[in-house]
Symmetry: C2
Subunit: 187 residues, 2 copies
DNA sequence: TAATAGATAGACAAATCTGTCTAAATTTTA
DNA sequence: TAAAATTTAGACAGATTTGTCTATCTATTA
């Protein structure tokens, strides 16, 4: 009934919502076409299988994630506050999703061990985040020489990931806040 | 055909293996009873549903995980080396499982948002790990006063979690090794 | 030895899953 | 306006899912 002029986008955004909230294996094709309000044939016209839709989902949220990140950090002027802002960004996203966790870590858990393509997309996202942290670090002057900037980038990256995954089962932003305070002392 | 004198243990260990390797939603009751080589009725005699089996699985691996951890750390004499040994322990487990990731983080990703019981068991495991790190820290003298021992426990915990989840999609122990080197400098 | 409890194989229900296909309606392009 | 491409609803196949139930067999216990 809906006259959507971009069926593909409709499918992708509906699938993204469901894959994130329910997980890949708990989301059926039937639910996707029902909620997107499109025909079964249309889905298979744009995506040759549920698995291909999953890859498209991963690529899609990867792009959206960095769009949101850059937009958020752009508003912050002071270089050191930008680093700390990374944690506020994670807190914001986790709060908005009721602590549903990082979508890439969630997806990672459902990927079969031999699906190299999926692991590559996830790795691409995470290493791009780590490299972005390094970029931000290059704009500040360190107070001590305990760590190189490369090491600090790894540290901040791992703290952010460890904190976010913890927030997802504690259903609380507490640990991300602690990670932020720790980083505040490190840089 | 198998004359197992403890059917429950057989079911639980078989389910544990499959839940970890394939994930909860990708593992069917049929596969569990086939591989455990027991009757369908026996499974439902010991566990009233697949979900109850999942809870039992979480409790089971929680106990086994700390058994293995304590056994591993016990062999290390020097207090600081015990902290660093935590990372070697994670490396060992990840290498042995072909980088299948932390079973609790994997399970966490498949838990529906309203399943409080599952999140509680996962949290119990992770916070017990964090508290154990604090215990180990209480046996050493810090080289600097940048962080309290509580803060260091959080830091080491998050580094370990962030590193392990990264190892699981990179299929490499590299990041856990980096986390270890960083902690070596922090304590 | 007899009674009880547990394990077995397997049928069965009812729902769900992914993917294919048809035929008609609609939209886009030429 | 006509042709081509896309979308639609829905049937369908074939496999799979969890959970229940029956009837037989085996092992333990009293």
């Amino acid at each position: 009934m809906k006259s959507s002029n971009n069926v593909r986008e409709n499918i992708l955004s509906t699938a993204a919502d469901l894959f994130y909230k329910q997980g890949y294996n708990s989301t059926g094709i039937n639910q996707i076409i029902d909620e997107a309000d499109i025909a079964r044939g249309s889905l298979y016209n744009h995506f040759k299988s549920k698995n291909e839709l999953f890859y498209a989902y991963l690529e899609e949220i990867n792009e959206r994630w960095f769009e949101q990140l850059y937009s958020y950090i752009k508003k912050i002027k002071h270089p050191k506050d930008r680093i700390l802002g990374l944690f506020d960004f994670r807190i914001k996203r986790q709060t908005q999703s009721s602590f549903g966790g990082c979508p890439f870590i969630k997806a990672n858990a459902e990927v079969p061990q031999d699906d190299k393509k999926a692991f590559e997309i996830i790795d691409k996202n995470k290493m791009k985040f780590r490299d972005y942290i390094l970029e931000l670090l290059n704009d500040i002057t360190l107070q001590n020489d305990l760590f190189t900037k490369e090491e600090l980038a790894d540290t901040i990256y791992m703290l952010a990931e460890g904190a976010t995954v913890t927030a997802s089962f504690q259903k609380s932003k507490e640990m991300i806040g602690r990670a932020k305070d720790i980083v505040d002392r490190l840089i």
